[in-house]
Amino acid sequence: MEHVSHLYEALERVVGFIYPNEVEAHWSVLIVLYPYLTGLVAGAFILASLERVFNVRAVRPTYRLALLTALAFLIIAPLPLLSHLSKPWRFWEILVTPHLTSAMAMFGFVYMWYLMVVLLLEIWFDYRRDFVIWSQQTTGFKRFFYKVLTLGVTDVSEKAIRFDEAAVKTITMIGIPSAFLLHGYVGFIFGSIKANPWWSSVLMPVIFLFSAIVSGIALVLLIYLISNKIRRVPQNMECLDTLGRYLLYIFIIDFALEGLDVIQRTYTAEESFDIIYALVHGHLFATHVVMQLILGTFVPLALLGWIQFGKVSAPARVRIYWLSSVLTLIGIFFMRWNVVIGGQLFSKSLRGFTTYKVELIGWEGGLMALSQAILPVLILIFLIKFLPPWQEHPVTDRAH
């Protein structure tokens, strides 16, 4: 039979004893992508709120960029989840007949809340004055487009603008816990599976949250570097250094949390310890130790730390930011991979392992995952084109 031929292959690579239904890893690379994308959203948003709520002036150039990044990635975030369902057209059942004890059932609501109430509203209030101005300065379709976006609210008096500002600030304050919720709950999806000792940890939502912030900052940092390069404007060192510093600090917290998790597992060494030890040292060695820990954590941490304590010239710092943001993004991707795929490689009999191989082609294959990872970038380019986030223009540069 066509649909099981790959399972016969997998059967040959099974080691030890697994329950007979466990040959197949049920959650594929798409489910790796899902927490990765939502993490980037939550992280980018939290970075944006730094500027708005805590008045971190230095990162202001990335404020709107971070918001648009969050939006672009949020639009795509449900796609991997949706396309991995075997009955995707029944997806709406999650929304109309949700089962309230299920963490996954909360997805739709958390998502809608975040997209509709937090992100879109915040972006709209933040851009409203620009929409009005752009609708006056442009012609043709663009004019119409911006006119529609104003939703008919064309008042740009000082009073109205002040209201916008206040609204943005309020939404951001609601938005921060919402971003926490968005990613904390994704961690809860895994952490609440008590049948799986690799997942079942109360730290899971917190680790997911902090790694999300790390990945979000790294992403915005990278996008900012790239966009400056493309626009041929000099890199803003103050902004970069601040971003780098935040990245470092939160990375350290994230690393400490994950370390705590490992130490606690090792110290308590429960029933499942042997198999998890074998998992990390065998099946996950390349992705966990090499990709996540060494390349994706130690190297960027060392590089970013070096900047703080050593005397590093500006051009060298820029190169370090390039490198460490890319490595961080890779490292967090592999963190998701190790959680999602790693948790399915060992049997719940705790006696053996199965394997997972990404197929290139196919509904849940590598190409599908890749295209879903590229899509948000395309959306972001589109968003940047129509809603330029650059705020050097004196009209749009607002005083705090």
């Binding site: 329950y19 197949e24 049920h26 369902l85 075997s86 089962h99 049948a195 049997s347």
Partner: protein, 280 residues
Amino acid sequence: MNDRLYKLSRTSPESTDLAQTAQEMASTTRRDFLKTLGTACVAIAIAPVAEKLSVAEAAKTENTPAERDWSKHKWGMAIDVEKCIGCGHCVVACKEENGVPKEPFYFRTWIERYQQFGDETVVDSPNGGYDGFPPETERAERLDKAFFVPKLCNACEHSPCVQVCPVGATFETPDGAVLVDPDYCIGCRYCIQACPYGTRFLNPITGVADKCTLCYHRIHNGQQPACVENCPTGARLFGDLKDQDGPLNQFLREHKIHVLKPHLNTYPKVFYSGIDKEVR
């Protein structure tokens, strides 16, 4: 709720279609059928089915939801590991009865073999025990102990699979079975991840989550689950936990009973007698 239960408790069209499709795909159907028939005959001859049938009688009078008092029963199963000979007839019967695909990756019930060589315990389950077990010949050491453990959905009282299903497609019936509504399941496979016992799979033909139903369609027609009926040694005992004097409770009283992974607090309603600490 009742409509849904009614639909699922009859030999539902889905499962008949499924059985047909599976049969068309399998080339060895006839042989299997004869095998099942043969086992059934043996079972009737050997197994002490008479007392089990009394439970079945009780269920017989109430075939439609309207007549049925849901609170009257709580179905469960006891497995006497000392009686299991690893013949695999229950596995064959289950696949036939429920249209489970024949590939070695899909089981509503399967058999595990535990063999102890000195300090080392070797567990295997070739094709889920469908074809029985080959004798262990390769190992030189002495075999200290060997036994077979039939596995199936534990019909957990606090079922993790029910808890996590985002649309409520997996649900618990008031009389204690855990079923999947194939018309609701979206195929997210969260339940498969949540079941600590590996009893669930995604049916490749229907594309929805599948698992043991305790042969819900049979027990409400007053019959025994197919695996119970086809077990030549009576290693499986199906019954009503609410019937205090029934054979199941009698068995539970007379034996030392274990459940699988008790620390997870799932409260299984499948009870094992005679298993070892090695069994998880």
